[in-house]
């Protein structure tokens, strides 16, 4: 790792002020993406601004029909939370499928969605469940948040504070994990919320996306048969040593059907 200055602010305001006064800063939360990147010298921030000491950054609060998860909440705490398990079991299951226990003990939901890895799980959860991303300065609908490969609409000095999930009538997340990293080769979140069906796909393309043809078919008939014949274009899908675009396109259909069956 290259040298950097390390700061540990205790409030969001202080974190943003430090960010503004630094040359080439980066926020760090769980560090499960940023530190490996820095170790490989693929990133070299001048300043690391650690969000872990920010007050009220982690925690889960529930109201009658929404669940709000603080940005600093670790994957293990979402996976193990009774409230999440009761209100949105698909989300607890998604968090429990990330990486391994030690990654889940540090990694956070805010870091995961800010990073927007094309193969990450939470983006599918946030988009599929129609969540709202709450930052220090605004609220962003999931449909507007994810902008492209490793890109979101967040400004450089903008901090994700929490993610607010409406409680769905039913939902399920199924992924085909890469056997080495556990990242999604393809992962699909299917949800029915406020009468609308959403199907969000991660891993397949450069950025998480909604499969609207499947959503339309499922709105008429919520069954895995209803989406069986729907073609998935391979144009623009990811192609790497793990899977070809053709294989990923095929997986999207299979995994989506499994998710629909699991959502019941």
């Amino acid at each position: 790792m290259y040298k950097f200055n390390y700061q540990q602010p205790s409030s969001v305001e202080e974190a943003i002020a430090l960010f503004k006064s630094s040359e080439d800063p980066k926020f760090i939360s769980g560090g499960m993406t940023l530190l490996p990147t820095m170790k490989l010298r693929l990133a070299q921030p001048s300043d690391l601004i650690d969000l872990n000491a920010v007050a009220d950054f982690a925690g889960i609060t529930a109201s009658e029909n929404t669940l709000t998860i603080g940005a600093g909440t670790r994957h293990a705490d979402v996976a193990g939370s009774d409230v999440v398990g009761r209100m949105i079991p698909a989300l607890a299951h998604l968090a429990d499928s990330i990486g391994d226990p030690q990654v889940r003990n540090r990694g956070t939901i805010g870091g995961s969605i800010a990073n927007n890895d094309p193969a990450a799980d939470y983006p599918a959860g946030v988009l599929g469940l129609n969540a709202t991303v709450v930052t220090d300065r605004r609220e962003i609908a999931a449909d507007d948040f994810f902008a492209g490969m490793f890109e979101t609409v967040l400004e450089d000095d903008e901090i994700v504070i929490a993610v607010r999930f409406p409680v769905p009538k039913r939902a399920a997340y199924v992924k085909f994990p890469n056997p080495a990293s556990r990242y999604a080769v393809v992962g699909v979140m299917v949800a029915e919320c406020a009468g609308a069906i959403r199907v969000a796909v991660t891993g397949a393309g450069p950025c998480v996306y909604r499969f609207t043809a499947m959503e339309a078919a499922l709105s008429k008939d919520f069954s895995s048969d209803a989406i069986k014949g729907i073609p998935c274009e391979q144009d623009g899908l990811n192609e790497d040593i793990h899977a070809s675009a053709e294989y990923r396109a095929h997986l999207v259909g299979v995994i989506a059907q499994r998710a629909v069956a699991a959502a019941g």
Partner: protein, 154 residues
């Protein structure tokens, strides 16, 4: 910067660069070389220690981030000459060959057994997802964790 932490019950204070990883502080400054480094990519789990009661990869945590925390390493498990049940079971069940992965395997398993005193084979295998062993083929590691779990229950 100055880093203060409790390691295996002992209060320590060390001077560290901000970029010093916890594992390097443990190995190079505190000479606790039981914690190993097996990869550069946060994947192998050879470096697993407990920070405030949770297993973490000490190669992916800055020493500065462990400031004020309680750290337990493999050196902190035995009670004098009395091996921890997991250490004894790894020996008994041949849960190691070269031993490189063993400290991480044991620290990770200790975290599992603190949450689940009677894990199934599947639960053990799932939990050890982040610990890679190049030698044993895992079977005897799983057996060792089961043996230790049983011993700790009895």
């Amino acid at each position: 910067m100055k880093v203060q932490l409790s390691v295996n019950g002992r209060e320590v204070e060390a001077e560290a660069e901000t970029r010093t990883l916890l594992v390097d502080l443990l190995r190079d400054e505190l000479r606790l070389t039981g914690t190993h480094v097996g990869c550069d990519t946060s994947q192998c789990g050879a470096c697993v220690v407990h920070v405030d009661g949770r297993s973490v990869k000490s190669c992916t945590l800055l020493a500065a981030q462990a400031n004020g925390c309680e750290v337990t390493t493999i050196e902190g498990l035995a009670d004098g000459d009395q091996l921890h049940p997991l250490q004894a079971a790894f020996k008994e069940e041949h849960g190691l060959q070269c031993g490189f992965c063993t400290p991480g395997m044991i620290m990770s398993s200790a975290d599992l057994l603190s949450r689940n005193t009677d894990p199934s084979e599947k639960e053990i295998r799932d939990w050890l997802e982040g610990n890679i062993c190049r030698c044993t083929g895992y079977h005897n590691i799983v057996k060792a964790v089961q043996t230790a779990a049983k011993q700790m229950r009895d």
